[in-house]
Symmetry: C2
Subunit: 332 residues, 2 copies
DNA sequence: CAGGGAAGCGAAAGCGGTTTCGCAAATCAC
DNA sequence: GTGATTTGCGAAACCGCTTTCGCTTCCCTG
């Protein structure tokens, strides 16, 4: 525990070579004979040597830490991306330094940016709140790579990895069609919400390709369970022969399900339901279980990919979409 | 952007003092006249100087980063604690370095520990998976402070901050009693699950204090929605005059609610429901809404407190419990 | 066999701060 | 007014590693 810490010069001395030789040997850099390299490696192992990461970072000028800018880290979607990215980065010995700011407030975020630069971070991940809101562009405010996650990019030249709402809509309908449903309706969030719009568009497109139409006009409302319940009740009264409802989110879906059951219909016997978000996975692990069939938008994949792209330095400008996937459960 | 970086010696030169004086002035350490201190500060500001955090960390031997050991970062509860702690730490310029390991596997975690020590981390947070499982003790394996979060500590001398399952049970019953309920049952998880046990004990205790008994024996089963549904159906058949069910988790509660409604009863008119976890908060923010009344176990508070304790160096040995609170919604 | 180039290694200069220590001047006690 | 402290500041060592540069030695070419 309190044992003397071994430094590189200890290793060099023990191996009978110079400090610089030892450094090069262990780093695999520069021209060193294979014999001495191996010899240094062995003595280093024997002594239990580990680089002092602080000294190394200092000398190299690279901090082994990635800055993360979030809008509101308490957002559950943000958390998933954050935790996944942090795990991925940690596995590669990269720390993260998180600044949680209201990105709209210039002053606040400017201070954070200065802090991050002072820390000589190696890269930046900007995590947006959703695909509904545009996140300001920070790319030009750093001299290290910046990558955006889970957001609608303000600048199309920024590197962005995000969910594919259009594909989500298509996938939902495709799954319902595969289940034999034909009289399908869609209940979703605010009409000005970008994610809601794209999901509706994607869904409408696939429906049209199948030669079908919505069984009722798409209803826009709120991302809320209670709205789902109320809207579904009205919808079922107007269009009694529905056989499926595509719900804009799992929260809405929960409300819809209650209304459908309250109307005396069976789920999925009479009406199939599919949501979006994979809400239940946020509770699964040992606990929880699947009930509502849903579309997973791929938040974890976003987190993983963002971390890896950044480390690889693989930052092509433009938006890269993550493929959604169906999570099969009891409601289709 | 690519503008010359200002170093401390630039500041010293501009202020007409020595490097060491400049350092002390800005750090508020050592004896420096207030006049020169202020003068140095002003020139530093004027030049836009920021400490090179790397150099500083190196010189001081403190990394400004906290190591985090998790069992499985993908666990939703872990994520909440992690994200909250990271936010709190970030606000104080502390980075985090996350190692996600199966803590049971010695080899794996030993490597992580060595990495963390090489990084000269300033402290360690160990996040458990829940209050159901015991996490091995890592305190003695570091020479920096270690604090455990959301776990049953293996060593009572370790510093641990976690949820108070006993209080959770009491609180749930107290809320139901305040709502005028008297015929109360409890459906919860596996009988060997520590969290489930304590919640049941706490609930039973408060019930006894109120001069009441369970309307039916406590039923232990699984942390699953479907189990809740099935168990509630049976329970209602056996004890038709129940007026409340304390559900061991929100997932169970969801299932219970379906069963109650399916039996023709109203929620909360005929039967009140209360869960545990504040599941919906994991989805709230802009979206989602409250439906199920529940007990929030205080995960965010755990994250916050763990971060702050560590920074303050305020690490008394023993377990500190976070107070749960009721989240009022529609089912009581 | 002379000369040029490459291979292998070491000396030393950083990287940009913090911190110890010593010295001169100012302040204090008596 | 003298000696003992205290105050304010600068010189320089140091943190542990990376990296440049130069010096040998060896090999190859013609």
């Amino acid at each position: 525990m309190a044992d003397q810490v071994i430094t590189l010069s200890d290793v060099a001395a023990a191996a009978g070579v110079s400090l610089s030789t030892a450094s090069k040997a262990l780093n695999g850099t520069d021209r060193i004979s294979e014999a001495t390299r191996e010899h240094v490696r062995l003595t280093a192992d024997r002594l239990g040597f580990r680089h002092n990461a602080l000294a190394r970072s200092f000398a190299r000028g690279r901090s082994q830490t990635i800055g993360v800018l979030t809008h509101r880290a308490s957002n559950p979607f943000t958390r998933v991306v954050l935790a996944t990215a942090a795990t991925e980065l940690g596995a590669k010995e990269q720390a993260i330094l998180l600044y949680d700011a209201r990105m709209e407030e210039q002053h606040d975020v400017t201070e954070s940016i200065l802090q991050l630069r002072a820390r000589r971070i190696d890269g930046v991940i900007v995590i947006g709140t959703s695909t509904s809101f545009r996140t300001p562009s920070f790319t030009s405010r750093f001299d290290v790579p910046v990558i955006n996650a889970f957001t609608v990019p303000a600048d199309p030249q920024d590197t962005t990895i995000t969910a594919d709402d259009f594909a989500i809509g298509r996938l939902a309908i495709s799954h319902l069609l595969a289940g034999g449903r034909r009289r399908i309706a869609h209940l979703t969030a605010e009409p000005h919400d970008i994610a809601a719009q794209r999901r509706a568009e994607g869904a409408g497109e696939l429906l049209a390709e199948a030669g079908l139409e919505w069984a009722a006009p798409v209803r826009f409302g709120r991302w809320r369970e209670e709205w789902g319940e109320q809207a579904a009740a009205e919808l079922l009264a107007e269009v009694p022969d529905l056989d499926a409802i595509f719900c804009g989110s799992d929260a809405i879906g929960r409300g819809v399900e209650r209304a459908v059951r309250a109307s005396g219909r069976q789920v999925p016997g009479d009406v199939a339901l599919i949501g979006v978000d994979n809400w239940e996975s946020l509770m699964h692990d040992q606990r929880g279980t699947r009930h509502l069939t849903t579309i997973d938008v791929g938040l974890e994949e976003i987190g993983r990919r963002v971390a890896n792209r950044l480390l690889e330095g693989n930052l092509e400008p433009g938006v890269e979409y993550v493929e959604p996937h169906v999570v099969v459960a009891d409601t289709v």
